[in-house]
Symmetry: C2
């Protein structure tokens, strides 16, 4: 069994981006980070993005509207960032507090600045095999992990558990694309799937994105499979100082005995998402500079 | 075995649309049909669309630019139709003659008039489970055939052979949606799939959209499966006056002995596409009228 080390791969990508940015002329890429409210996880994610941007040499502009901001006011803020020549990428940290309509906000972001890839146009571009779009950070991170671990999906059966807009659907469309590294046969399972273990056992590459701790057990995995665990779940653990530990959607111990390659949680897909956001921001910068 | 009669279902839908249109106030829906060049199949398809529109009471405007039209000129024509208040839907008949870039033309159509559903925004909306968009006519026709034949995809394994932008990908996203009639487990196979018969034999619902005559044989189908045949292929047949016969992607005779329900070719999916185009045009009319 080989561990797919997301920390290491992300560090490599960040170093590559840093070298690329340092060679840029005067203006540096600029990422606007919008965070509404003080959800502790959101605070920590935005801080991490800001820090990684600084490390690479990408300017970031953190915008913290009050939690009372209305939908119309937030849309006006997005419009302003869309029009701002100095901003290359816009990220609105999810989840937005109620009653804000998150999807409408994501859609408001100009497609050419939608570095989180959650708008309608960038989703459609994945289906059109169009590389000019932005792939959202988790599916992009999964594809980068596979590519940099030498996993070619061609002719492989990729089974995805979870059909979310953030992970399952875009990663399915990416794995299916007619291009080098992709060309997989793709099955998408979810809560309404009748015979889940029978399907997951067929996977050459199994991608778990369900959000349920250790849901994928040993009997659901084919020996030799590549296993990508997208889940990050808190499980109570009185033996830990924090009172909990983080675990993925895969029962790592038993499954790792069967898998040919597997991502750990934490340290697998997680660290890749911020690296992909930075990569998308640099791509937006190049596209806007050469447009 | 029950035959899924596309002619009959399409006739019913057209009658429903006709009743709906006849109840509309003064202005009728208007569909612009753009055909470049004289490809005989395109001529016949556009004529069929015009005729069906007339039957329903939808105005159509057939525009026939010369085959020498440039990309820029065709884009300018689309822009003009986009801006035309009197036009509800725009269809550009595929295939466009070389060197015209079809995808760029499809994308040029305003999303709210893209009744053929091939633009980027309408594709993205399918992935977002957003019903305000337009689903392209073949996948919409397949879903309507299933719904009107009493086939509920929930928990069923839907295996799609073919990953085209016109059929395979959108129908996969539709079958996967979290809504009544859908909620299927979806597998998408294609030319690079390693073990095709093994996968197709798992299908509760098998959708064949490969474009190869009688490619799906009896041994590839599970007894009791619902079989949707999207292919229309010409096969030489000296016994026919035309010298050929039309056949689907499924070996109808042997497979129909196993299937619980099956679409014939012709008379299955084919007739549904024009009905869906009309349904989309009426939807565009309503959305534009109430916007």
């Amino acid at each position: 069994m080989e561990l797919i080390n997301g920390n290491e791969i992300a560090t490599t990508i960040i170093a590559e981006l840093k070298a690329e940015v340092s060679a840029l002329p005067a203006r540096k890429p600029c990422l606007a980070l919008v965070r509404v409210g003080d959800d502790p996880a959101s605070v920590s994610y935005v801080r991490k993005k800001e820090k990684t941007a600084a490390e690479i040499g990408i300017d970031s502009r953190v915008i913290l509207p009050p939690v009372t901001i209305s939908q119309a006011e937030l849309e006006a803020l997005i419009d302003q960032l869309n029009a701002d020549e100095g901003v290359d990428g816009i990220l609105v940290q999810s989840p937005l507090p109620a009653p804000l309509d998150e999807l409408q906000i994501f859609r408001r972001i100009a497609p050419e600045k939608d570095v989180d890839g959650l708008g309608t146009v960038n989703l459609g571009k994945i289906a059109q095999d169009d590389d000019t779009g932005f792939v959202s950070c988790t599916p992009a991170g999964i594809m980068a992990l596979l590519a940099r671990s030498g996993v070619d999906l061609k002719g492989k059966h990729v089974v995805i558990v979870g059909r979310s807009l953030l992970v399952g659907k875009p990663v399915a469309l990416l794995a299916l694309q007619k291009k080098a590294g992709a060309n997989g046969t793709v099955t998408i399972c979810h809560s309404a799937t009748a015979n889940l273990p029978e399907l997951t056992r067929q996977a050459d590459v199994l991608i778990a994105a369900i959000g349920r701790a250790e849901f994928i057990t040993r009997d659901m995995v084919k020996p030799g499979a590549v296993v990508i665990d997208v889940g990050i779940n808190r499980v109570e653990d009185p033996s830990r100082k924090a009172g909990y530990r983080l675990t993925g959607d895969v029962a790592f111990g038993p499954v790792s005995e069967l898998a040919s390659k597997i991502t750990p949680v934490p340290g697998g897909v997680g660290p890749m998402t911020v690296a992909m956001l930075m990569s998308n921001t640099l791509k937006a910068y190049h596209q806007r500079t050469h447009a």
